[in-house]
Amino acid sequence: MSTLVLLLITGLGLGALYFLVAAGLSLIWGLMRVLNFAHGAFFTVAGYAGFFTSAALSGTSPWLQWLAGLVVATLTGGLFAALTEIGLIQPLYRRPVGQVLVTVGLALATLALVEGTFGSDPRQVALPAWLMATSNVLGAAIPNTRFAVLLIALLVLAGLLFFLRRTRYGLIIRAGVENRAMVSALGIDVQRAFTLVFTIGGLAAGLAGFLGATYYGTIDPSRGTSMLISAFIVVVIGGLGSITGSAIAAVIVGLLQQFLNFYAAAGVGDFAVVLLLAAVLLLRPGGLMGGSSS
């Protein structure tokens, strides 16, 4: 029973990380039809920004260190994404191949730069005592980081849904996911919504970058790439452009990986996720909730 609970909550925590990366990817594709391969770079750079911020505050309150790292990582992700959209994506609208090439190039260059600058070895992240401890749930000792990641991801999900359903920009984004040409034909500057969505995606990826370091206890340059692959799978299963779909798919993927990797053999969970992706593409190509942005 305790193993079951541990796997369940750990799987949910992993799903929460996937969701944070996937949510932005999904909205960016849904509205802009841009496959953003640089999303993992936002995760990585923001994670390191948070890590060094936290390290720079060494000697102060551990919670202050952690929260400062979280805030700086989130803002770094948003800023990196906004600059990418304005500097690299905007000049290439209507040129999808160019967009793919430039985001792949940015991802590779960023990874090389981070590895070259900080090395490829994992670095330990300083965490407050409570986050390094465990809590007993039905006999299972659950690392508290899982609860923190889950709680923050739920808050982000609620915030995104509120934004999409209750604000004018959210309305514009939901309409744009369906038919962006018609949004323009109503006199609305879709370009602004593009920059906003890219920035929101970057904020979420940046948050995930530092939460990933919190979840695993370490940070390294390559995690952004593996997160990106999982997030793309989540986005396709959930339905391109759907936040709720991404949340559901992220939970399914996280749980599937945890349970099968434990009960079958290491790697079986990852393989099963790819099989699930293939099944969704064959049986429901639009994903679980394709066509709906919220």
């Binding site: 939901r174 309409a175 369906e178 040409a181 323009s184 034909a185 109503l186 006199g187 500057d189």
Partner: protein
């Protein structure tokens, strides 16, 4: 509003998509006030002309609205200058409610237009919370027209085949709504239903193979069997 001043001036509009030239130097004027019809057989470039005016397809030539050149502007800026658009396929946002579809079109002054919209289409108020994708074709057309009417800044509406595929009773309601809308704005109307066109339109521009082949009074065209047969096809003469 002067009824004789040219509000919209289209000059040598060219649209080429891929290897095909869809419009080859289309030129015409739309007088301020009332409804101008853009007629012609299927596939002669009527929809492309509207999309070209709005900048939804790459084009060359000149389009001016009350003297202001529009062709260098992005689509949303052209709309903000006062060009409203109701596309052929309605293009309502199916996942959004009726109310949300209308909210997207709101501008300063829209609160006064809601009265007109709900007077013309009271069912939109009753179905405000319903996803627009679940409406009938006629109701979706009402949403599309309502969105254009809500923008009080619109000086001209480009309306593409609003009665296409609708039941006769709904066609009459849409036609009545267009007539009422023409009291508050100028309309450039693409319409295949010649009975509707004859009823609503004052001036007419006829396209054939991407060029203007007739511009003038609608009655002179439709009531003359020879002209109607020549420019609109054989069946037109029967209307």
């Amino acid at each position: 509003m002067s009824v004789d001043a040219a509000l919209l001036n289209v000059d040598k509009l060219n649209v080429t998509i891929g290897e095909s030239q869809i419009l080859g130097g289309v030129s015409f004027r739309v007088r301020a006030g009332g409804i101008t019809g853009l007629l012609g057989r299927n596939g002669v470039g009527k929809t492309t002309t509207l999309r070209g005016i709005l900048g939804l397809v790459p084009r060359t030539g000149s389009v001016t609205l009350a003297g202001d050149e529009l062709t260098s502007l992005p689509v949303h800026s052209i709309v903000r200058r006062g060009v409203g658009y109701v596309p052929e396929d309605r293009d309502v946002f199916g996942g959004l409610t009726v109310e949300e579809n209308l909210r997207l079109a709101e501008r300063a002054g829209s609160e006064h237009r809601y009265a007109l919209v709900y007077e013309l289409f009271p069912e939109l108020l009753e179905r405000a919370k319903q996803p627009a994708g679940t409406l009938s074709g006629g109701q979706q057309q009402m949403v599309a027209l309502a969105r254009a009417l809500l923008n009080a800044d619109n000086r001209i509406l480009l309306i593409d085949e609003p009665t296409k595929g609708l039941a006769p009773l709904v066609v009459k309601r849409v036609a009545d709504a267009l007539k009422r809308a023409a009291e508050v704005t100028t309309i450039l109307l693409v319409e295949q239903n010649l009975a509707v066109a004859r009823h609503l339109v004052r001036d007419v521009v006829v396209l054939d193979q991407g060029r203007v082949v007739y511009a003038g009074d609608v009655a002179a065209l439709i009531d003359d069997p020879a002209l109607a047969r020549r420019f609109l096809g054989l069946s037109a003469a029967e209307h």
